[in-house]
Amino acid sequence: MSFAKLWSIIHEPLFWAAIASLKIALSALLIGLVLGLAIALARMNPNRHLSRAAVAYIEFLRGIPALILLFLIYFGLAAVGIRFSSLQAAIIGLGLNASAYLAEVYRAGLEAVPKGQTEAARAIGMRRGQVLRWIVLPQALAISLPPIGNVAISLIKDTSVASLIAAPDLMLRANDLSSQTFKPLEIYLVVGAIYFVICFPLSLVVRALEKRGERKT
């Protein structure tokens, strides 16, 4: 089979599979962004128990492979009666995983906002919640943008792991196609190229953001 012929067979399914992967990544990123912020705030909370729990959460999730987390959620929970589809399990697992990394990203961002900002806001009579919402968070978010971008890129690449619990992503479709066509090398190279086309421009954006951040400080 010529490559042109192969391409005519695979390009459409791979395109849609890539979209599916991006959807998984985006959903997981949203979970991670929201949950991560909560964890970061818990971690920085003066309440000892709360911050310890947050640390344990972060260390647990950062200490185990994403694959094992997916296995735990998909197979492990099923055995005790909590059933998710492989797609749900993938999104939840990758989202939880991202939340641990993002919590640390947020924390670094929050800690990078100068103390004087809080003091100045308190001095003009803002309440704690207001200070956080209107003064500290916007600045922290700006600082955190490049590392958030890096987490997003990792997430896109990590969606490939979802194929190992048979979630319908780009890699799973590639596996199917390669067993149908017996052209694994060509197909995985094309798939690699697809990931590259998505991730490389993003990494350029992140680098530009990093440069801009460096110039500001």
Binding site: I68, F75, V161, P184, Y188, V191
Partner: protein, 225 residues
Amino acid sequence: MMDGAVVTPEMLLYLLRTLLIGAGATIWLTAASLVVAVVLGFGLALMRLSDSKVLQGIARVYLEIFRNIPILTQLFVIYFGLSRYGIMLPATVAATLGFGLNGASMLSEVFRSAILSVDRGQREAGLAIGLTSRQAFRLLILPQAARTAIPPIGNYAIGLLKDTSLASAVAVPEIAMRAKMLVAETYLSTEIYMMVAVVYLALSLPLARLTALAERRFSPHRSAA
């Protein structure tokens, strides 16, 4: 609970023993891949720091390709892709190569910035006492860069340790693979994957502590000024 095997102490012991054998393979795979990644990564860093635009370009292209494609895809290219064309690497070799090639792209940046972070005055002071450029690099720049590089290498090693779980997809008998086989055998998926998680934590948390320690010791590196 499903109609799986009964969790007796003997059963637990059996699971644990099998998983620990897998953990041994995980450690080996991690160590071997790390060696490949360090050696290749150092070579790439030297290429990027060389005066040759061609070498710089090659290194840049290599780096961007390997960093922007999932490691799982890279493993599949090497293991399934190449075998279709008669290059049949044993699974462990393919995995070591895959993680090593991928890691080289990560570590080359670590080495490059570590080398660049050494104060220019160090090289100049070396030249001033009559060292050649090579000697100054080997005796002054490298030892100092190595200290700076240790914490990020540690962080990379933690990531690598976890990534090696993907080798289960190309049938390397590391811990995740063993776990899958045990689950197929006993249906005790919750227990087994929890145990696997604990084993990974037992490996990665001390490594993270060590790295944090190295960070405090080396990162704001001893400076003469």
